[in-house]
């Protein structure tokens, strides 16, 4: 059915946190263990699926010069996190779908984005991608593709980037599992803590996280996409211009609320909100919102507002 309509076939989506604790020290805190179990459950579902590709959007891979896509067929390294280096190194040996990476870069360019592949031995694959791929696909059973999160990109650019992913999935006829690597609230404690004492940084962060989880559980992905600016203002440390994961996830999976959502775990990771969530496309619909922001198809670049202001 999906092929007949030239629509991509997305088996399900996963939203998961970038912190290395579930990979490196799941025993250090009961919550880390629950996140690890949730990752394991996702791994099993992936193994039982007929997926051809795991497509990852990682918020811990920032790019500046356009949108970068990993295209080295077999990246091998030992990654060490900048903050959590004391937890140990993360050796990896991944299998990348180079055809998809090249196709994604081309599809992004066709939609007006600046995009390029990176295929260099030793390129620093980010913590979030390493954690997700190690836990979700430890045997490289399914090839992966990793796309960066451009620091300056805002809503239009990010949505177009997601639509470009749909273009190439449909074109190559690949069945995909879509993975977004991102925290919910991302404020960590700024001091070292005993892992057993970990908790969400503030009540406000926890309240917002739980509200977001309600939306995820109800399958309201497009509603979350539309709430992204509120989420950014309320519970995101402003390291980048916007909270973008829900924009990309919705644009890639389909901009609607027809999903079966399942929150497998929600726990603190050094104060930030970490959740492992699955979204599976369904026929039903849920939601009570209508939207007035443009559903952009092509990225036209900056509008040169600053230059126009010179009188």
């Amino acid at each position: 059915m999906a092929e007949e309509m030239n629509e991509p076939e997305i088996l399900f989506g996963i939203y998961c946190p970038p912190h290395p604790h579930p990979l490196l020290c799941p025993e250090a805190n009961e919550g880390y263990g629950k996140l690890r179990s949730a990752y394991d459950a996702c791994r099993k579902r992936i193994e039982e699926s007929e997926a051809d590709l795991i497509l990852i959007y990682s918020t811990t891979w920032p790019s500046i010069v356009g949108h970068q896509i990993q295209a080295l067929e077999n990246p091998v390294w030992t990654h060490v996190d900048d903050d959590f280096h004391y937890l140990g190194g993360m050796p990896y040996d991944f299998k990348i779908d180079v055809d998809f990476a090249n196709g994604y870069a081309s599809a992004a360019e066709k939609r007006g984005l600046h995009s390029r592949t990176v295929a260099y031995e030793g390129f620093p694959i980010d913590t979030g991608s390493v954690v997700a791929l190690q836990l979700l696909n430890p045997d490289n059973r399914i090839p992966a593709c990793i796309v960066s999160s451009n620091m300056y990109a805002n809503r239009a650019e990010t949505i177009v980037l997601g639509k470009a992913a749909r273009d190439v999935l449909a074109e190559q006829g690949k069945k995909a599992i879509v993975v977004v690597v991102a925290s919910l609230s991302n404020r960590m404690f700024t001091e070292h803590i005993d892992e057993v004492d970990d908790r969400i940084h503030s009540q406000k962060d926890d309240d917002w996280n739980r509200k977001i989880l309600e939306f995820f559980a109800a399958g309201r992905l497009e509603d979350l996409s539309q709430l992204s600016r509120d989420i950014h203002g309320q519970i995101r440390v402003s390291k980048v211009v916007a909270y973008k994961p829900a924009w990309w996830m919705a644009a890639t999976m389909g901009q609607h609320n027809n999903y079966a959502g399942e929150v497998l775990a929600y726990e603190a990771l050094h104060g930030s909100g970490g959740a492992v969530i699955t979204l599976t496309p369904t026929d039903g619909s849920f939601g009570d919102k209508e939207f007035d922001e443009d559903d952009v198809e092509f990225y036209h670049g900056d509008r040169d507002v600053l230059d126009k202001g010179m009188l």
Partner: protein, 302 residues
């Protein structure tokens, strides 16, 4: 009795990987036809000055080792690996082999800890040293014949505000100065960053095509010149005072805290900075400057 240690020079040393790429050192895998000579020749001039200074170690503060949980220090005697720039991997794939002054690093960490700063030694042998450290250190000392200490950038600007960053980076600078004094060592401080930092988000087909290089916008240029003018006048405190606004207006890399740290460590110099060069790299504003506390060797360079 051991003589007092001292800071013998402070350097503002930007780290666009383009400069190493343009120099074609054997450690870098990429090859270029040159480019950004104003900065590279300025670096060469400063490197020659350093060759004539007696010092034991370089201590560098880098915004590309970003830590959110306190300030971290490199804590193993040597690191050997390849650094690949995550933004410009086409330009910078540098095979490094460097030594660390662990004793000095530990003394600075202890002094910072005593000052109430959250700290951590980094002792994972697989840790990859950031490209900011490598670029600035290579251009200042291409022979790599001095040990270094890298200090991470604790992201207080993101987590709190530029004002909090100024307070904490200043406290760190004073703690490091105390540790250096007690160490008996002669140390060069390096603050590794650009000034204005809005990037172009596209890259020329030939990155070193200088016909396409210019500052991102005039506002950045004017702000950078304001900062440089204050440095020339020896008004380092005023530079720090206007830094929150400068950082906000030009998305400046000063947000990382390096210059604040170095100025505090040097007691906010009231003498002129030595200016070695200013040029844009992919739209960002880059200044090479140094502060020489020795009245007899301080120069008027540019």
């Amino acid at each position: 009795m051991m003589s007092k240690g001292e800071i013998v020079l402070g350097c503002l040393a930007p780290h666009p990987p383009h400069l190493v790429y343009a120099d074609n050192p054997p450690q870098n895998e990429a090859y270029s036809e040159g480019g950004w000579e104003t900065l590279r020749w300025g670096y060469a001039r400063l490197a020659r000055k350093l060759k004539n200074i007696d010092y034991d170690a370089i201590v560098i503060f880098t915004p590309h080792w970003q830590t959110y949980i306190g300030t971290h220090f490199l804590g193993l005697p040597e690191f050997k690996s390849k650094s690949v720039d995550p933004i410009f991997p086409n330009l910078f794939r540098f095979n490094y082999d460097l030594k660390v002054d662990v004793d000095l690093a530990e003394k600075m960490r202890e002094a910072a800890d005593e000052a109430g700063i959250i700290t951590k030694m980094m002792t994972n042998p697989d840790f990859r040293v950031d490209y900011g450290t490598i670029t600035s250190c290579h251009l200042l000392n291409p022979d790599w014949d001095k040990p270094i200490v890298t200090i991470s950038s604790n992201r207080n600007t993101h987590y709190y505000s530029p004002e909090v960053m100024i307070e904490q980076a200043g406290a760190l600078g004073r703690a490091c100065a105390k540790a250096i004094e007690e160490s008996g060592k002669r140390v060069v401080l390096v603050s590794s960053h650009s000034l204005s930092h809005r990037h172009f988000v596209t890259e020329a087909p030939l990155p070193e095509d200088m016909s396409l290089e210019h500052i991102y916008n005039h506002s950045q240029y004017v702000w950078d010149m304001k900062i440089i003018d204050l440095m020339r006048q020896g008004k380092s405190r005023e530079v720090i005072d206007i830094m929150p606004e400068f950082t906000e207006q030009t998305i400046a890399e000063t947000e990382g805290g390096g210059l604040i740290w170095m100025m505090a460590a040097m007691g906010h110099p009231d003498y002129s900075a030595e200016i070695y060069g200013y040029q844009s790299v992919i739209g960002t504003g880059n200044l090479i400057a140094s502060w020489d506390p020795n009245d007899e060797t301080r120069e008027y360079v540019l």
